[in-house]
Each structure stands twice: as C-alpha cells, then as structure tokens.
Symmetry: C2
Amino acid sequence: MTTTGAGRPRLSTRKRPGATARDEILDAAAELFTTGGFTSTSTRMIADAVGIRQASLYHHFANKDDLLTALLVGTVTSPLTFAEDMRESPEPAAVRMYALTWFDAQQLANSRWNLGALYLLPELRTERFEPFRAQRGTLMDLYTAFARDALVQINPDAELDLRIAQLPFRLVETVINTRSDAEAEGSSASPSPEVIADASIRILGWTGSTTELASRTTALLDEYSGGQR
Amino acid sequence: MTTTGAGRPRLSTRKRPGATARDEILDAAAELFTTGGFTSTSTRMIADAVGIRQASLYHHFANKDDLLTALLVGTVTSPLTFAEDMRESPEPAAVRMYALTWFDAQQLANSRWNLGALYLLPELRTERFEPFRAQRGTLMDLYTAFARDALVQINPDAELDLRIAQLPFRLVETVINTRSDAEAEGSSASPSPEVIADASIRILGWTGSTTELASRTTALLDEYSGGQR
C-alpha cells in the first residue's frame, strides 16, 4: 500500500504505516531493531528505509537512543492507561487481574513489531533509559497490586506470598518469547491472550471455571475500546 | 582467586573460573556478551579479558558465532539431560513436571551469567544457530510432553488444551527476565525455583497443596546430583 505524503516534501512516496513522518521513522526503526538488531542498525539505515534524508530524521529524534526510548515507552503506555482505568473500576479483584493480563497479552501479541524482544538489551541498563525503566516499573507495580488483591479475594485466609504476585506480569511478557520463537521458525502462531489470562489467575489460586471472568473481561474490553475512540 | 595456568605458557596468570583455557574464554565471552552486548563484543576484547592472544582464542573457537553457540547450548544441556532422566522415571506425571521446572528454574537462576538474555537476539534466527535452536526445541518438546501427561493425571476427564501445556516452559524462562531486571536495578534478587514449580503445576490445574510434590522433588534432585558426581 503506497500513499503520498501530506503537504511535506519527501524523497519518495510514503511507504510505511503512520500518519506522520515521525510515525514512519518509528516503524522503520522498530523493523530494523527487531530484525537486524539495535547495535547493527544506524540512523542512516533507518532514514533510508523511510526514504528521507538523515538530517530530516534528526529533526524528529536526536539519536538512536531516543528512537529506542520512544518505541519501548510505546509498549507500556497502553497497558499502563488500561491498568490505571481498571484500578478505579468497581469490578472484583479477580476480574481486574484477568482483564489486565488479557489486555496486555493481546497488545503484545498483536503489535506490528515484537519490540519487547529489546527489553533484555544490556544497553537498557544505562542512565539514558531510566525513564523507560521507571514506566515499566510502574506497570509492574500495578500488576503486583492487582495480583495481591486477587490473592486476597481468592483465598482470604492464606498467608500472602508476594513472590507469587509477581508472576502474572512475567507470564504476560512470555508472549514476547513465543512470538520470537515462532518468527525464528517462520511461523506466525500468536499466543492466545485468553490462555495467558487463565494461567495467571490459576497461579493466584483460582480453581473454578474462568468462563465468568472471561465474559466479564470481554465486556470490559469492548466498553474500554469504545471509550478510547 | 588467581591460580596459575597448568603447563601452558600464558600472557598472564589465570584470572577466570574454568579448568581449561577453553572454559576461561567461554566465561569471558559470557560476561562480555551479557553485559556489553553480542554485537558490540569482538573476539579481540574476549582474548584481552582472558589475557591471551587473539590467535590463541581462534585455536579454540573459529569465530564469535561459535562462542555464542557453545554458550547457548550450555544453557540447555543440563535440563535436557535431567528431562531425559526424568522421562524414564516411574514417578507420577505431576512429580516429573514439578521436578523439571524446579531443576531448570534453579540452573537458570544460579548460572554465573544470565545467558538466556541472548535467546532473543535476531542473529539467532540464522542458519548457523539451527543446531542450538534444535536442542532448545527438543527441551521445549519434553516440557510439553511432561505437561500433557500432568494435565491428564490431574484432570483425566477434561478436554486437553495443548496451548496450556506450552506454558511451564515459558514460565521457567521468565527467570531470565527477573534476573535481568534485578541486575538493571543493581539488585541480585534471584527468583525462587519453588515458586516457579508451584505456579507451573497450578497452571496445569493442580489445586491442592504442593508440599508432597516439593518434598519428592527435593529427594529426586538429591539423588540426581549424587548420581552425576
């Protein structure tokens, strides 16, 4: 699909999804970082992939780290917004947990590029990426809070093992590994958000059917995506 | 701890763990790949870190890919051997599953370098790394087989959802992410193998206490490590 750029002089016609040049640059960077590697990709290669001059790229992003930050932050903003919305919801804790794991597993499974595969880059440990790490940390904390509430709801008398409360977040992120392995084998088998949500709530001690949780979640997601439009 | 090399002329005294020069090279490569990144590390840097000449390194490994292959294969050989041992065991399926997840989570948590963080490198998708991918695939298949057997033992009448059987393997590998995040924050909190084993068996529908599974596993691991000596 090729659409022409809107009112801005370009070296070539637009060839990437995105309403703006900035979006096109991000899409090209995401492709090159996830398929060729972050270190092996230069801003020149990204500019070439968009069909713009390197100088034009620098108009939007100061350097490669800025691009990576923008992409990584993009992987946590939508689950963060959803989790903050859910936190205010009157739904029982188990439903909130189920809905968050479903929502996040779905967005990780369906995103155009598997950007979570970059979370383990040693480069991310540097000071420059602290803002991203802080945002992902906030998301992790929300997961843990939801999981603690669900643990208490499911089994009010049990002693709270907080190490268990950290697992739903981890389990959701396994979508990244499943996608990566499928891509390595040339398959596109995408992990099911429902299976991840089910497994997460069972880790927290849920033993019955999850049909009710799933149908309530579907309704919540419909409502939410309606409200976001 | 500094020990002198055994009978081989060296530029410097031995400064890394390992009985042989080959082990020292692997240890240096593991450190540099996991802390500086695979792409950013040269064989020259590895040789320097060991205190040998680059030519001596090439005596043991043809190139950087060979080093990476050896390190990655090292992350799956011990759980593979254990899984093959467990497959022949007369233990109930739930015990075999519990023991495998415990054993593997433990070795991933305690390995000197967090090498699993390299699993998502785009480089691994190339033909050169097919031997490693095949071995990890064999381990994954053993996990799935154990999980199917456990699903049948736990709930013989339920319809088998094979997507669930893939989750214990994924959950165990989250040890890699937990370690990586802890290292980024300068902490050394290591994930508990017991918590991972517990969560894995609950995903497969286990609802009761896991005390019995855990004590049987401890006995099996003692026996096994005795047999390996």
